[in-house]
Symmetry: C2
Subunit: 480 residues, 2 copies
């Protein structure tokens, strides 16, 4: 990708202008200055988007998923100041571009600040799109194999993660619930990365793929329930009264009940709501109705004490193309996914860059943290290999199923970000050390999956062609 | 629009569930509660969107612009608590739904809070789309008539508004710059409302329409420059040193210079940036590139002390369909406007509902405020009638030109919202009284325009058909 000279000249000129403008604008109390609180938010959002897209494109070119580039771009961006011997906080006092960059990193990471809120809306939209792409009917049909694979794939990494954290998490002693939480970050499979690899290899209709994708979706639901229970236990513990068995059952029931009631009631109401909306006059009613349902359910989930992503996922599940028929008859030409896409395209990368920036590379100066990250990653990989053993039926490529379940991606990161905002006895549930280890675990599991999965699938083909007709017959039966 | 029984039953059930959930969730320190700062933001955003779309649809059905419905929906929503004898602040202490509603109104109006930031992003996107729809070439071609009409249409209302405010603004004595600011809120014409009326009547290609639309766009630019100068004068005055003539010239030069440099440099760079972006790998690169340019210029405008909307408007002006050719060749099927639309559809209504909510109807209990609002509105209408006299050329319908310039719409509201966040000697530049009067002025001028314009255009037709062939010849010449 050769960049023509005129472009490089233009970029240079723009950079000079930008620097001059920033330097001039930073002059405090300049004559007739006017300040709008949205201006720094927009400027920083633009910078984050450029980082995200450039590093995402770089990783795609290297055959890696874009999300990995966004994460690593965030890690580098968040730690770039170390090259000048500064932390974001110390850089802000310096003035000039160092201060601007330090301010950017601080603003992106500020809990509850404008950019943090936008990143959280991004996560809500991400789970909304995951829900939109999940099909409840197909989930119910993939049947016992997926359910068993998902259950094993949740229990094994959870138990392994708990023990690894208990033995190795630096800076102890820690409250046992912290280890429970770290175990929980290993549970959920990132369906997106595996799905993309399978799609690129043209394997989406193979039995193994159906099992993995079905299990990954069930994993998401189980992960959300576990998150609700663990977060609830931490909240109760922090309030001074440890959760009773009845309390745990109540949160469990609440999470499952919320999903079931939201989806059942929603599937019944959504066509009616969309029919009303399609009769209203006005622009953008399809997209506004869909977003309002998503925001409403996400907000209600928050109100009943669940994570907003549970509600957003439920909203995605219950919305179905069928509901938009009334709009389509009016000639509204878009699919809902296409309308959500531009909004998600701006906000979702912000979340991944934010997660990358939350990793403080100095934590790895402590060998114990690095060791913890390595063993946690190993636990994440090994824990999911048990999934292969849970596959029902003969002649299936169990290794590919296990490998397909490895990537953690967004859901592990969402758990970590939630853990960073929970406290237990004044200590953050996911502190800097644990956070760095979890992000590294996500990065490594995501990087490992595409090459290994391509290799195990080819290996599976070779074995299948050797065992010949019998396996083919079995596959046909599986298709029925 | 008959609502079937099943829907009303469903809505009832949903409301009961929602109320129960809110009441239960509001119980403080509930066992195992978990809170995410994004949850209330999403819930309140969903409620605001429902208010905006329902009231917008109601007004469209009554032949009025949707924006009017959003504004009035905001006024009613913001003042609904008065029926129970509460202000938002006093309602929050009550618990239950009253508290939830009071919290909603407070959160929507909180300066720099998450919903305020989202509304400000909405305004930035609104000006971005206005810029996208404006064509610099066409603006330059409409020529002297539009420029003269625009200048007269800025100067007359400004002077009238200044004197009305000086004589009648209740609660004085006020700083003279406050009257200057109120005069400035009367300057800019809302091109959107007039354009929609002309479009519905099939008149967009009539000479009068071209003059009005061209003048409205020039008005926007002049308005932005005036805003920059007045805000700069207020900032300098607040800093203790009144602005010198050199300071005024500098701000003026900065605003015009920023627009010119951004547009010229941007038009040269944008095709190159888009060509680079089109060669990158990744999803949503067109929309992210466009938004990044918009956010960058809006943020830079803020950094150099201008309103972010100036930068957003410049970004819209410089982006041109031509730049996306590289993307279109790759089969990216969207026009940029279509990609901005879903984002704007969520955030722009939030701004108008927020503006409506900022009106405290109790201010009108003071007859002086009501009187001020009435006279200010009259000044806004009368001030633009001078525009008709500035039309060059014979045989044109001068009355329609004057009437077409009446609506103030979004730009007046944006000025008012900026005035609310500026202070001068401890007093808000746009206080509650002035704010209420400006919003009423915007509502009334917007409501008056469609019926009066339809009437003056018919009257113009009648006169033209009476004067016969001569006028037709002139119109042909005008088309050339």
């Amino acid at each position: 990708m050769r960049i023509p000279q005129s472009v490089s000249r233009g970029l240079l000129l723009a950079t000079v202008l930008l620097t001059a403008a920033v330097a001039w604008g930073a002059e405090p109390g300049g004559e007739g200055s006017y300040s709008d609180p949205v201006a720094p938010v927009l400027l920083e959002l633009a910078v984050v988007l450029v980082i995200a897209k450039l590093s995402g494109a770089l990783f795609l070119r290297g055959g890696q998923p874009a999300v990995l580039g966004e994460l690593i771009g965030g890690v580098l961006g968040g730690n770039a100041l170390l090259l000048w011997g500064h932390t974001p906080a110390s850089a802000v006092a310096q003035g000039g571009l160092l201060a601007a960059w330090g301010g950017l990193v601080q603003d992106v990471l500020a809990h509850g600040g404008p950019l943090d809120i936008l990143a959280r809306v991004g996560v809500v939209l991400l789970l909304f799109t995951v829900g939109l792409e999940s099909d409840i009917g197909a989930m119910l049909r993939v049947g016992p194999s997926s359910l068993l694979v998902a259950t094993v794939g949740v229990v094994c990494p959870f138990v392994l993660g708990f023990f690894v954290s208990q033995q190795l998490l630096p800076g102890g002693p820690h409250h046992p619930l912290i280890h429970v939480f770290i175990g929980a970050t290993l549970c959920a499979t990132s369906v997106g990365i595996t799905a993309r690899v399978l799609q690129e290899l043209g394997r989406l209709n193979q039995d193994e793929s159906r099992i993995v994708l079905g299990a990954a979706v069930i994993d998401d639901v189980m992960g959300l329930v576990i998150l609700a229970v663990v977060a609830g236990m931490i909240g109760a513990e922090g309030g001074g009264e440890p959760l009773t068995a009845w309390g745990i059952a109540r949160i469990c029931g609440l999470a499952v009940g919320f999903l079931v009631v939201a989806v059942l009631l929603g599937r019944w109401m959504a066509p009616r709501v969309f029919r009303i909306a399609s009769r209203l006059l006005g622009d953008g009613l399809l997209v506004v109705t869909a977003f309002a349902i998503c925001f409403l359910l996400a907000g209600l989930a928050g109100v009943v004490g669940l994570a907003p992503i549970v509600g957003a996922f439920a909203a995605g599940l219950l919305l179905d193309e069928v509901h938009f028929e009334d709009f389509r008859q009016q000639g509204v030409p878009h699919r809902l996914e296409e309308l959500v896409e531009p909004v998600a395209a701006i906000l979702v990368p912000l979340f991944f860059v934010q997660m990358g920036m939350s990793v403080d590379l100095r934590t790895f100066a402590n060998p114990a943290v690095l060791g913890f990250a390595v063993v946690l990653t190993a636990a994440a990989v090994v824990g999911k290999q048990a999934c292969g053993l849970a596959v029902l039926g003969r002649g299936l490529d169990r290794l590919s199923v296990g490998v397909g379940m490895i990537p953690r991606g967004e859901v592990g990161l969402i758990f970590a970000s939630i853990g960073r905002s929970l406290t237990l006895g004044g200590e953050r549930v996911i502190g800097d050390n644990a956070n760095a280890a979890v992000v590294i675990m996500v990065i490594v599991t995501t990087m490992l999956t595409p090459p290994i999965l391509a290799w195990t699938l080819r290996r599976g083909d070779a074995r299948r062609s050797r065992s010949g007709v019998a396996a083919a017959g079995e596959q046909d039966a599986g298709e029925g």
